[in-house]
Symmetry: C2
Subunit: 188 residues, 2 copies
């Protein structure tokens, strides 16, 4: 595997990642991905044998991306409360994507769950990475006992905001809820 090959493989995974998010897993075909990357369908199978293999790679990449993002936040924000507020701020920073396609984590988990897909557990792992990180931050502001409950609640509230925002294409709602969530964290 030389440099060129690695790069092309990465391009395929990135294109699949985007399309699974924007169109959904089922609705995305090999042709869609191949077209987005600019390679022939046949060549496609040199990198991935099945659609399942691509999903494995996409989920792996997403988990890596999430871990890298949380590491960045840990460096940038020393205070646990500031980290919690940064988490909520994803909604604002990704508002246009959320308005169009909802949350990439939540919508993929929902779809794979309905498909009774073998990789549903790997998708939920994305939530788990966030949850464990959020628990640490809640514990850090003196809610060690409630950390689990609060972490799940915060994720759920952000999921709800994402879903309603995309259903209504209403970013004003998103901003109102982010404000309220920030105040909630502030007051804990």
């Amino acid at each position: 595997m030389g440099e060129k090959g690695e790069t092309n493989r990465q391009r395929i995974v990135q294109a699949a990642d985007d399309l699974f998010y924007q169109k959904g897993y089922e609705a995305t075909s090999f042709s869609d991905i191949a077209e987005a990357v600019g390679i022939a369908r046949g060549n496609f199978y040199y990198y991935f044998k099945t659609k399942n293999d691509i999903l494995v790679a996409v989920l792996q990449k997403r988990r890596d991306d999430i871990r890298a993002m949380l590491d960045e936040w840990d460096k940038e924000y020393p205070e646990p409360r500031a980290r919690l507020k940064r988490y909520i701020l994803i909604l604002v920073k990704s508002q246009s994507e959320i308005e169009n396609f909802g949350c990439p984590v939540g919508s993929l988990c929902t779809e794979l769950n309905k498909l009774r897909h073998a990789l549903h557990g790997e998708a939920t792992e994305m939530f788990e990475i966030f949850r464990l990180w959020l628990e640490k931050q809640f514990a850090g502001i003196g809610h060690k006992k409630d950390a689990h409950k609060l972490a799940l609640r915060l994720m759920a509230r952000c999921q709800g905001v994402s879903l309603i925002t995309s259903a209504y294409s209403d970013v004003d709602f998103l901003h109102r809820e982010v404000e309220e969530l920030q105040q909630w964290i502030e007051g804990l």
Copy 2:
């Protein structure tokens, strides 16, 4: 259109409704629906010409079902606060379906939005029916000015609970959040 025809048509719509919820719209084929009803694929087209036509009928039925349910609640619960608490109680009453497939309204809206489907607006109409009804109840307990904001917030929170519950298959989380939501309504 005789009685038998009406009944068979209703059976098709009911089967499609269930399958769109449990498997998703894209993942459900004509064969799936025909098999569930117990009729041949060919006969199927006597009732619906396109998959789009079935979705129209399913969305129509869902909206009718929601309106009928809210009318029932209006009769059963005279107090607006009791009505709001009844709304939240859907989560508990449908807990096993939610654990397996999430919220039928939210997940269909998300999928049709990603597909850039022409009927996405009709799906969001389901949320609108709930929202208008919730607004009335919030206004009825003295939150006329905040009614819009609170209605959307309550729907979003229930969506978040449904999504996390299904991702984790964690009905304990659902019960904890329902308890918290009931207290929130109680304290308003």
